[in-house]
Symmetry: D2
Subunit: 354 residues, 4 copies
């Protein structure tokens, strides 16, 4: 397909180089593949490996202004040594020792935390202290000040999800330091955001303006668990309530719009009945799952990985995947789906559905 | 301003009449007033008057196919003998005796019920049985089949709100008879819609398509009460949470969009601290309030009306009103605000705010 | 269906009356018909009748402050002597003599003018003088100041369309007098709104905020004619371009949104090839047509009416209609469709399409 | 700020490496800078350099299946040898010799062409032949089949803009080969899309469904020029019509929504009066300009570059820039602004406006 290699062609290509030009015809297949061919690869990180390293960091690495967070990022083996779990997403385990404070700052990047075990830390978001407990999803939308403090004598670890790689690649990041401590050390059971907004179907008249990101700072496990339980019960009663047979799922949403919690990140929770296997899917965009409860496996691109509580795995764009539940199997998921949908790049393929 | 009355003018006007014409210049002030001059008037209906008439209807008037409902409409004294509480809204007290069934039908008109006292009736909406209890708001959006049955040995009364006058004036109504009984006599504590949708901030993956009206069939008093309680507590803590000092309020919303529960009807609940008086407001569009708990008064167009539990009153368009709370004072409100906002006619004036 | 007429029932009904109540069961069929049963009736107004009456008004009735406009409203024979062409719409012929000025005012009601013949008048909308010529649609969205002046020695007549009945029924109207003259007697060929906005697919960077109504004050016949001509040519070339075989049509839109020109009124222009007959349609909501060019007929509810240039007719809600073109047949249409669509009451039925 | 370098820390970091982990604290400033610090650099490509290389490619490099296009991409010197003009955008000069055909294909990536000089090529988009002439913007939204053919005996060059880097980084690209020729060699003056859609403020009734990208295939220079001319005339008349004094500008839009022409790419055209200098701006996201007519300069990050017709330059994210017009100065611009706005990362800073 390429033109014959002649001195004239070489001279032309030399001219391109001098003028900071590159021809399309020598690189079309790389630039415009038939379907997504991600450099990111599927990978599983075992909680049993992560947690001890986080604990050891707790001993060796202080937390404070400058380093800001004791967070250890998952670095996709295909992405050349960057702490990117996928081209768009950052996932990290964060660790806070007894009585420690991670100081306040804010950034354009959107962030959340999900708690697979433990409790005792409050994250203070724009001055509102938010309790972090097992199974909770906590939001820190872009440009909200936030810091964390551990109110107990025990350490706590959780996962952070952000759109750092996307922000970095596309040059959209801003960052500002805030208080070296957190601005409010109160430890209320419920944040002010929850007290205003977590009443199903009710909206405060003081909050009629829609917000870009959700005003709910904490999505509690109690609600998530109940929603999934009801879906499976309704399914048993013969009602349409689940995504597919044996597969319950919720999306965390912004109550002012019914849409995703933040402009770049989708958060969901999935529950499979024991024995369920989901159809093999491919989707444009990347996802990270963390096992919350139960045991099972995921088949990614034909390779099956056994999974235990706390294990994390990434599904790069357009790679086929399917979940298998040995026991009742609970998984938290986050993805860049809002980016794909808002920019009209979303596509899904479910095997057997053509 | 009018042209001189001459034989020629009379001939002209005769010509108009023959051709089904009417000049603007003889009627401009009526057709296009300086501000809304509603024919509807402010009026208070006392629950102490309504309930006995409803009970007497229970003795004298059967419920069933044809008449369909034992509903008694509030007829605004200014609207010439129509059962219109305002030009857009219908409000009625409905009464169902022990073990009675109001048969199923559906209509383009949007409807809700609000329960000021009692329990024991289930409304079955598109096959989903919905318990009706004190303080609950129950929806029947347009073209949903619905019937009611009383599962107890005691009668029950509640109020209905619909957009019947709007539908009638604008010729948009359709009606279809359904089952002569209700399609499901089950009496579950929670409807299927609630079980799927009433988890704060969570959306079922099986329900990702936005719906015109809310998929929540029942907004429970427990949630409403808690939301208002929290607003007042937050206010005490110095947080911005209420509409104005001493005035907590929620809007019932469609969780798929964050907007109003139905395309034509807004539903809200207001709670005033004892001693609170709201600023005097004028709004384009009409509202109906029902007192749910406590005592107080409303000043409408300068006239103060004392209010007790169950009392209903209507505020026509652009008529000034203010609430006064003697005790903690709880009021349910519905209005045609979505019509005004969607068609860009909404305006509000708060006295003292120019 | 009605309860037996007994003294007790009469007492009950007396009680209702005293308390300003009306039962649903005595009036259900009227309040909630099986399908829309409009009081408005189909009717045709002949231009040959209207124009002489307008001219005669020009001789007998002055135009100026107070009466404001020499406008003669079409009064639907079913609507009891109101100048309502339908429950939502006002249609009038307006007449301005040589060198006359209709003074400025503004109102919440939305208005447009359509010119079936003549020229020489400028309408000044929020200070922007807009030429009125044959085939043009001119907008005066709600709360825009506007006045008209005739710059010639010949009279001019045109039709006005407004949402006066809707505003009146729903108590949303505001009105304010402006200058007794128009604020700018310039007679430019193109208004400023056109000069900024009438470049296909281009939006001024100074106008990036969406507006509720179209910023285009005048939709010129030249563009309308060309658009329809192209549709019919494309159809001849075998391309999908027309609504249905032989039936070209455009909708006038707000370029900031692609939606209707004003929140309550839809404007369209239809062109039929000679010999075309449209399928019989029923639609929720009412429409008014004016013949602009050519000859043909309309069948409304089974009755065929011959039509000539300038003739106006109204189609009430859900009444079946079909157009028949003798020659190439051009018709301007306006309707309340945005109301029906925004409030989710829209329905269409096309005969033979079930 | 970093923990002391001890054997224990090294062991920890070794553990991170083995587990595909990277700590945040060693790289925070790079990952989350205070403001965007793009790797992309400002750069100017001179048309006088580009065109001869494109012409030489015409002699040495065939066009056809496989290489697909004789397109030469602008490679930002900061982006490490990729043909990316910025992290999101691709810009190339494309060259088609006399009577040549570039075969049909389609891809998820969105594309446009802009013609700085010449004519004679038709691009065939989903079967619709679209003439390409000087000053025209031609669209090929994602997943539309397209090929080009030169109907003359003279070569033609133009620029292509696409979101290839964004698609590549985020793994969203799909590609499909189509006909080896173009499917229609007709050379109509106007494409079918234009004939249906290029009537200002008018929308075909056959096209009432909104489309993700604009249905207009060609935005003609004649309209762009007239729009800009009118803005400057209106400014002279004292009307608000320009972005700022002496600076007229239009955005190309999707007429079905009033929004950007494609989900990821914004296209604009700017005209400065001679002597005008724009305020210094910083914006999140990257832009490419091409000079279309006249002479002037751009100051980017404090460095001034003289500009002639055809010259292209890139402004990376948050780099300050200002245009200076020697003569009347016309520039085409495209950017990734829709990405920034849809994902809520957009920010603008105008010097002197704090």
């Amino acid at each position: 397909m390429q033109p014959e290699d002649t001195p004239e062609l070489r001279a032309l290509y030399k001219g391109f180089e001098e003028q900071h030009l590159l021809p399309l015809w020598t690189q079309l297949g790389d630039l415009m593949p038939i379907h997504p061919r991600p450099r990111a690869v599927p990978h599983v990180w075992k909680w049993a490996d992560l947690l001890p390293l986080a604990e050891r960091s707790g001993e060796l690495v202080p937390v404070g202004r400058g380093g800001e967070r004791r967070a250890i990022g998952l670095a996709n083996p295909g992405l050349g040594g960057h702490a990117y779990v996928s081209p768009t997403l950052w996932a990290a385990i964060q660790y806070l020792g007894p009585r420690e404070t991670a100081p306040e700052h804010r950034h354009a990047q959107n962030a959340f935390r999900f708690v697979v075990e433990g409790e005792g830390v409050w994250t203070v978001v724009n001055g509102d202290p938010v309790r972090m407990s097992r199974g909770d999803l906590l939001l820190t939308p872009g440009w909200h000040f936030h810091g964390h403090h551990n109110d107990t004598d025990k350490p706590m670890a959780w996962i952070d999800g952000l759109d750092i790689p996307f922000a970095q690649q596309n040059d959209v990041g801003f960052f500002e330091f805030g208080s070296g401590r957190v601005t409010d050390y109160a430890t209320p059971r419920f944040s002010r955001g929850e007290r205003l907004w977590c009443h199903p179907g009710l909206r405060p008249l003081s909050g009629l303006r829609d917000t870009v990101s959700s005003p709910i700072g904490a999505y509690r496990w109690e609600h998530t668990d109940r929603a999934l339980t009801e879906q499976l019960l309704l399914e048993e009663e013969g009602q349409p309530a689940t995504v597919e047979q044996g597969h319950a799922a919720i999306r965390y949403v912004n109550p002012t719009t019914g849409g995703d919690v933040m402009p770049t990140i989708r958060c969901e929770f999935h529950r499979l009945r024991a024995g369920t296997q989901t159809p093999t899917r491919r989707e444009v965009g990347s996802s990270v799952f963390q096992v919350f409860e139960g045991g099972g496996a995921v088949a990614i691109d034909g390779v099956t990985h056994k999974l235990n509580i706390g294990d994390l795995f990434v599904i790069p764009s357009w790679v086929p995947w399917s979940l298998q539940a040995e026991t009742q199997f609970d998984l938290f998921r986050f993805s860049d789906a809002p980016i794909m949908e808002r920019l009209n790049f979303a596509r899904t393929h479910i095997e057997g559905s053509d």
